[in-house]
């Protein structure tokens, strides 16, 4: 079949009779290695990388300068006020944790479900997860009033014999996010070992030989190693899978366990998980579409991948939309006046603008993905996923701020206004995220070469250059 294929579009036909190849069939093992390794091996990155890195790094530095200012002055530099004791930092935290969902979902759950198309994008997504979790982990840490005592949230033995309060969802958060960050990091690193070994073998400079050598942990690629490796990968995947569901469920407990109307809702755990996957995929897409173009990865990350991810976005976006609807229904159905007030207030009160930004970005625009043409249009895809990113940030803003600003006692109602520090720190967190991401693009194998090779049609594909048969081994 492959000999007839001349364009990328053609081999992506959804003819159910044929099993379509997952990457461009013109690729062979060698060209995969070449394409991916070349990115990290270039002696100098392109100028655009430098430009992007300069911007991202300055934003990161600004973020840390602002954190310094925050520590010196106090959390009053933010817009948090009396009813809205939580503001941007918590919104940002939940936003970034949500983003950090796609990676592990793609790596672990799709791996267990044998969704082999994941191989082209999983490294990318996992890296994104790690960096998003770094950004997320930053905010709760600096959010507390006395940052120098933030470690009291950990169960550290101490002379006061004081333990944290195990009833508090914030404590659960500490454990959930901590576990998630650890497992995601392990999983990401573990999956990267064979590829790091490839880079090590090809490395020319001494420094990269040493560094890649150390981090590839002496990988030789023997069959025995592959056997052990794949077993452990499977186990890690199995361990990571429940975490995908647990982290955001626990994050949602911060709200659901409180008695505040608008927070105190049993729908929150599934709703948060769906939203997290939704935002995570949107962020993967946001990064992937330009990167594949920029680094010439179109043959590995094909249109089919883009389309599949758009389908996931459509599905999860609809779930989120359903959750928005059911919240309203339950608010009315429960007959609880506080509950119904909070939802009416969200949609028509002083924060209506934020609510409608959220609804249109998260529910309305992703519906365009019902159309195949739109799913396959990179430009429109980019616009929609950007909107989803915005919408999901606003979702957390709406949940946190509108519920707090008008609760039980009207005399204490207020209106939250962010300060410049709030806005700049949000921007700075993107700087941090992109700084880490650009470093990843520069120095690490951005596509899981070994895994891609595993899903290539190696048996009866065209062998123009006589690719080595034994390199990747079969899965």
């Amino acid at each position: 079949m492959s000999s007839e294929i001349t364009t990328t579009a053609e081999f992506l036909s959804d003819d159910p009779v044929k099993r379509a190849p997952l990457v461009d069939p013109r690729l062979d093992y060698h060209s995969v290695t070449e394409t991916v390794s070349a990115i990290a091996e270039r002696p100098k990155p392109p100028k655009a990388w430098y430009a992007a890195f300069a911007v991202a790094l300055s934003l990161t530095l600004m973020l840390f300068a602002l954190i310094g200012y925050l520590i010196v002055e106090g959390v009053g530099v933010w817009g948090n006020n009396n009813p809205a004791f939580w503001g941007f930092p918590i919104v940002n935290f939940v936003f970034w944790v949500g983003i950090g969902h796609a990676g592990t979902l793609i790596s672990a759950i799709l791996f267990l479900f044998r969704q082999k198309w994941r191989t082209s994008i999983n490294r990318f997504a996992e890296a994104m997860t790690i960096f998003a979790v770094v950004c997320a982990g930053l905010f709760p840490g600096i959010h507390v009033g006395r940052i120098w005592f933030a470690y009291w949230l950990f169960p550290v033995p101490n002379q006061m014999e004081m333990w944290p309060n195990f009833r508090s969802p914030l404590l659960w958060d500490v454990f959930a996010v901590g576990t998630y960050a650890t497992v995601s990091l392990l999983f990401w690193y573990f999956g990267m070992i064979p590829d790091l070994a490839t880079l090590r073998d090809r490395a020319r400079s001494r420094l990269s030989k040493i560094l890649y050598g150390v981090f590839s942990l002496g990988w030789t690629g023997s069959a025995r190693e592959w056997h052990r490796y794949e077993r452990s990968y499977l186990i890690l995947a199995a361990l990571a899978t429940p975490l995908v569901l647990s982290v955001h469920s626990v994050v949602s407990f911060d709200f659901a366990v409180a008695q505040l109307p608008g927070w105190h809702t049993t729908i929150f755990p599934p709703y948060f998980v769906a939203g997290a996957i939704f935002s995570g995929f949107a962020m993967v897409q946001t990064l992937m579409v330009p990167a594949r173009r920029f680094f010439g990865l179109e043959k590995i990350v094909t249109m089919r991948h883009i389309e599949n991810m758009n389908k996931v976005i459509l599905a999860t976006g609809s779930m989120v939309g359903y959750a928005y609807g059911i919240e309203f229904f339950i608010a009315w159905y429960s007959g609880n006046p506080n509950e119904s007030f909070v939802f009416l207030n969200r949609a028509f009160g002083p924060y209506a603008w934020a609510y409608w930004i959220m609804v249109s970005c998260n529910v309305i625009f992703p519906q365009l993905f019902w159309f195949k043409k739109i799913r396959r249009n990179l430009l429109i895809t980019m616009v929609i996923v950007m909107l989803v990113n915005v919408g999901m940030w606003f979702e957390r803003f709406v949940i946190v701020v509108t519920s707090l600003s008008r609760d039980f006692v009207p005399a204490s109602w207020g209106y939250f206004k962010p300060t410049a520090v709030d806005l700049l720190m949000l921007l700075g967190s993107f700087g941090l995220f992109f700084t880490l991401f650009l470093l990843f693009l520069r120095f690490l194998p951005i596509v899981a070469m070994a895994e891609v090779k595993g899903v290539m049609p190696h048996d009866h594909g065209p062998k123009e250059k006589g690719a080595p048969e034994s390199a990747g081994g079969e899965r």
Partner: protein, 1004 residues
């Protein structure tokens, strides 16, 4: 092994090893007692040694660094009965506008830290107002004047008392020679008997000197009215315990009258529907006052319409009908007509049990009319009691005479003893220009102000807690004022200075007070020491019988326009601001940040105007208006206040100070001053209100910092609020109460509740509180009392705008009904000390936990500041230190003195920490210790929280719910009690008692 020979058979040995002298023992010996010092310093060359020594000597000589020399003088023998760290309480008196308020001041190791009401005071019965509560902050104000200064062209030059004395002594001799020619003294009026005696001495010594007394919030019209009615000026006070029907005409009877503290108590005692017949309060006024908010029926009229209203009322009471009684114009229609008719019928039947009270901003003829009506209704001697006035009765004239003397150049030397006439004299007098013509201008003042800057000498005045004095309470009771502390700085009181002026010698102030006492009540047998201990002289209430009404009491001089329902132009109404009074408290941060009881405005005054008036003028909240009247104009921000009379603008006095300090603003130092100076429009002809003002919008806006949103709110918010407030603040009419006394509890149905956790078992005490909404007037005394007791910082206007005010106790105010004629409901809100506290469960570090006695404790040094507790608090009563609001105390050396005013029993919270009401846990502990020592339980009433103590109406009751005989237990389980948000299963330890209104069935 070789044995060591013993030197002597009797040499004792310590161990067998020693005896045998083993090598191990020798090594041990070597280690323990080395022959040579193992840490011997390395050898130093002689030259190097000399170099070092030389350098050290040189440096030691060159440096000025040495330990600060200080002496410690511990008590070798402790004074008898004095226990360090144990607070003592002394009775004293604070005089404000001629009224002595009985105080009991807590003093720690000689420094006063908390002012409370004196329970032995017969009139106020332990109550205080916000000014007394905030006095501590003034005492330790870092900006107090510390020594006499010369003012040379606005520049302050440090001088001393000696220098001043040398300056004054020759002048004094000359004055004694010419009988005081060219000398003028201006004081704030006082009811002090000692002062009255001094004034006589002064007059005798310097007969030609001018002695003037003035303060801007005087009651000239009140005395003039009495003169019209009785032929002589009379002072009076009311007995509200006997009044069934009370009518207040532009009169803030429960807050701003001389006897308000006592009135509020008597009024509240008659509100409880459980006991007997509740009273009924009618209020007719131009702006919403505290009394208006408490009224059963309120009618908003322009101030100029109050007179016509009273005329019509009198006509109806005396049996005239319709037009004959003066029912015309605005009175002939709608609510006003029904109101006056129903009121006339009720007053007519309540002979001897009614009361008509008129506020001091009304002209004299209205007062005279009220006296006549009270007399006709037989209220004199029953609800109204008369006596001879102690204060100057025509202060505006007194000041006017002084100003014209100064302007004519007749005054060479002017002493202004306390008071700030450059700022607060009537605008038409132009006090400043006249004052500038005086050669020597001496100003005794607490801190530098506008008048000080216009003077040539500025002398520091002592705080009332530092000086001796006396005063008359609102009912004429003789009160003694004893100092709690020696003056912190070189300052003198007005009393001392008045005695100094003719004599040139500083008197013994205690003797002045004692002499007055001995001539007065002392002569009739009162004991000085007992009186001093109690702060009041028992049985010293002055009184007259019922005076005779003169046959022709003042004519009715209302302008014809007053009858029109719409004014020509706009009426301006001037009165005291409830927070800074006449402006003298402008530099007090607690008062500046106190939310105004009705507008919830902090750090500003504003022009209050009715919603309909604002709508017609196209004015919205915060718009800056230019108000012109009589050729003068003022720019001021607008505040739209429901319940304000149409076409009437209320201008609170006391803001826009040009020189007050860091808090109150200073033009010279470039510190913006809060609010707007409304004295600019107040003339001696119209001290109360002025008609025919022009108002235009300037187009500018001013940001007003309110702690609660004003009534303009989106539709969703309005509806949600109405529903919630109905549930939170419960109340009903007497009729509803009689039908179902537990109606408040029955108002909402709570499903059976189950706890998620195993609940606490309370075996011992269960602290609890009740707040009677029927008694609460919203006067704010509790808010300031709490702030003083618990070291609560102020945060400034910017932070209030951010919603970060720190007061632990707030008074929630809601309007109900028509914005032009609203009902006001208020609810003091503080930590409810929930038994199943939502805040405790969510704190990740367990910084807020429950005590065995049911207190929701906040552990400041465990708190990391996640603020989750505050999010989960349904009442939002937790306060977070977003910044270090006590920074100045830590770092500014000038503010070291302010530390003295802090309560040593309460932690000063650092930034990043959550705080909230503790039920005054320090007071509970203070009561626990003696109880434990005496082996008895804490008695009911032994623990009094700061808010409870300050409350003039006794609305707050605190105690042990487990003690069935306690007042709080009875009140907690009373018919009217209910708990807020009970459906959340939080089990609050505060119960509110529903407010029962007593409307006239005729008015519905």
């Amino acid at each position: 092994m070789e044995k060591r020979p013993l030197e002597h058979a009797s040499t004792p040995w310590r161990s067998l090893d020693e005896l045998e002298d083993t090598p191990e023992f020798r090594r041990f010996l070597e280690r323990e007692f080395p022959a040579e010092d193992p840490e011997k310093p390395p050898k130093v060359a002689r030259r190097r040694f000399l170099q070092l020594m030389g350098a050290s000597v040189a440096l030691a000589g060159a440096s000025g660094c040495r330990w600060e020399e200080d002496r410690l003088l511990p008590f070798a023998e402790r004074p008898e009965g004095w226990i360090p760290g144990k607070p003592r309480h002394y009775a004293t008196t604070m005089e404000l506008s001629g009224v002595g308020q009985g105080l009991l001041v807590t003093s720690y190791d000689g420094r006063p830290i908390k002012v409370e009401g004196n329970p032995k005071h017969p009139f106020s019965r332990g109550a205080t107002d916000v000014f007394a509560q905030a006095a501590i902050l003034d005492l330790y104000d870092p900006e107090r004047s510390r020594f006499p200064e010369r003012i040379e062209g606005g520049r302050r030059v440090r001088a001393g008392w000696k220098e001043f004395h040398e300056f004054y002594w020759p002048m004094r001799s000359a004055l004694r020679g010419n009988g005081g020619e060219g000398l003028a003294v201006l004081c704030r009026p006082s009811s002090s008997p000692a002062r009255a005696a001094l004034r006589e001495t002064f007059r005798r010594a310097l007969p030609r000197a001018i002695f003037a007394e003035y303060e801007p919030l005087n009651r000239d019209a009140v005395f003039a009215g009495a003169k019209e009615a009785f032929g002589r000026p009379l002072e009076f006070h009311f007995d509200l315990s006997k009044a069934d029907t009370i009518l207040c005409l532009d009169c803030d009877l429960l807050r701003a009258e001389p006897g308000s503290l006592g009135y509020a108590r008597d009024f509240a005692d008659r509100r409880a529907p459980e006991g007997g017949r509740p009273n009924r309060l009618y209020v007719v006024e131009s702006t919403m006052s505290l009394t208006g908010a408490a009224a059963d029926h309120r009618l908003a009229l322009r101030s100029e319409q109050i007179g016509p209203f009273l005329m019509a009322l009198e006509g109806l009471v005396s049996g005239k009908s319709g037009a004959e009684a003066g029912i015309r114009g605005f009175l002939a229609e709608g609510k006003a007509k029904r109101f006056v008719e129903a009121l006339a019928r009720e007053l007519g039947t309540a002979k001897g049990r009614g009361l008509v009270a008129v506020g001091s901003r009304q002209p004299s003829w209205v007062h005279a009319l009220a006296h006549r009506l009270n007399g006709r209704l037989g209220n004199h001697g029953s609800t109204v009691h008369f006596r001879v006035p102690e204060v100057e009765t025509d202060q505006t004239a007194s000041l006017g005479a002084l100003v014209s003397a100064m302007a004519s150049g007749a005054v060479k030397t002017c002493f202004v003893l306390d008071g700030n006439p450059v700022y607060d004299a009537p605008a038409d007098m132009d006090f400043g220009a006249a004052y500038a013509k005086v050669e020597t201008r001496v100003h005794l003042a607490y801190s530098l102000d506008e008048t000080s800057l216009a003077s040539t000498w500025h002398l520091p005045m002592a705080h009332f807690l530092e000086s001796w004095g006396d005063a008359r309470a609102a009912d004429g009771t003789w009160c003694l004022q004893q100092p709690l502390i020696k003056p912190l700085f070189e300052s003198r009181s007005v009393l001392e200075t008045l005695a100094y002026l003719p004599e040139g010698r500083w008197p013994d102030a205690k003797k002045l007070v004692r002499d007055a006492f001995d001539r007065g009540p002392g002569a009739s047998g009162a004991d000085w020491r007992l009186s001093l201990r109690d702060g009041v002289v028992k049985g010293s209430r002055a009184g007259l019988g019922v005076p005779k009404l003169s046959p022709k009491t003042g004519g009715a001089n209302a302008a014809p326009s007053a009858w029109e329902s719409r004014a020509r132009g706009v009426e301006l109404v001037f009165d005291a601001d409830p927070k800074v009074h006449d402006g003298r408290f402008a530099n007090n941060g607690w008062l500046q940040e106190l939310p105004d009881f009705i507008s919830k405005l902090t750090w500003d005054n504003a022009a209050f105007l009715a919603p309909r008036t604002a709508e017609r003028m196209g004015v919205s909240q915060g718009d800056v208006l230019r108000i012109g009247a009589g050729g003068r104009s003022l720019e001021i921000a607008a505040y739209i206040l429901p319940g304000q009379a149409e076409d009437s603008i209320f201008l609170p006095l006391g803001y826009g100070r040009k020189e007050a300090g860091v808090v109150g603003g200073s033009e010279a130092r470039g510190i913006p001053s809060p609010g707007f100076d409304t004295y600019a429009l107040r003339t001696s002809a119209a001290m109360g209100f002025a008609e025919g003002a022009e108002v235009v919008k300037t187009g500018a806006t001013h940001v007003l910092a309110c702690t609660q949103d004003h009534f303009a709110i989106d539709e969703i918010g309005r509806e949600g609020r109405a529903e919630k407030v109905h549930d939170l603040v419960r109340g009903g009419t007497l009729e509803e109460y009689r039908k179902d006394p537990e109606f408040a509890r029955h108002q909402s149905h709570v499903p059976p509740l189950e706890s998620l956790w195993e609940e606490h078992e309370y075996e011992g005490r269960r602290w609890g509180m009740t707040i009677d909404l029927g008694r609460c007037t919203g006067c704010n005394a509790c808010v300031v009392g709490c702030q003083a007791e618990n070291n609560i910082p102020i945060v400034g206007k910017e932070q209030v705008l951010e919603g970060r005010e720190m007061q632990w106790l707030r008074i929630d105010r809601y309007f109900k009904g028509d914005p032009e004629d609203p009902e006001v409901v208020q609810q003091p809100m503080t930590c409810q000390q929930c038994e199943l506290a939502p805040c405790e469960q969510v704190c990740p570090v367990a910084a807020t936990t429950h005590s065995e006695e049911g207190l929701n404790d906040m552990v400041y040094n465990r708190c990391v500041g996640t603020r989750y507790c505050a999010n989960n608090c349904p009442f939002k009563v937790r306060r977070f230190n977003y910044f270090n609001f006590n920074k100045k105390l830590d770092y500014d050396p000038d503010y070291r003195i302010a530390r003295l005013g802090k309560n040593p029993e309460v932690t000063i919270r650092h930034r990043g920490v959550m705080e909230k009401c503790t039920f005054c846990v320090q007071r509970i502990h203070a009561a626990r210790i003696p109880a434990k020592n005496e082996g008895r339980p804490i008695r009911d009433g032994e623990v009094v929280t700061a808010c409870q103590q300050a409350c003039p109406t006794g609305a707050i009751v605190f105690g042990d719910l487990a003690d069935e005989g306690s007042r709080v237990a009875a009140s907690f389980s009373s018919d009217r009690s209910y708990q807020t948000l009970a459906e959340l299963n939080i089990k609050p330890r505060i119960a509110y008692l529903a407010r029962i209104r007593n409307p006239n069935p005729e008015l519905g």
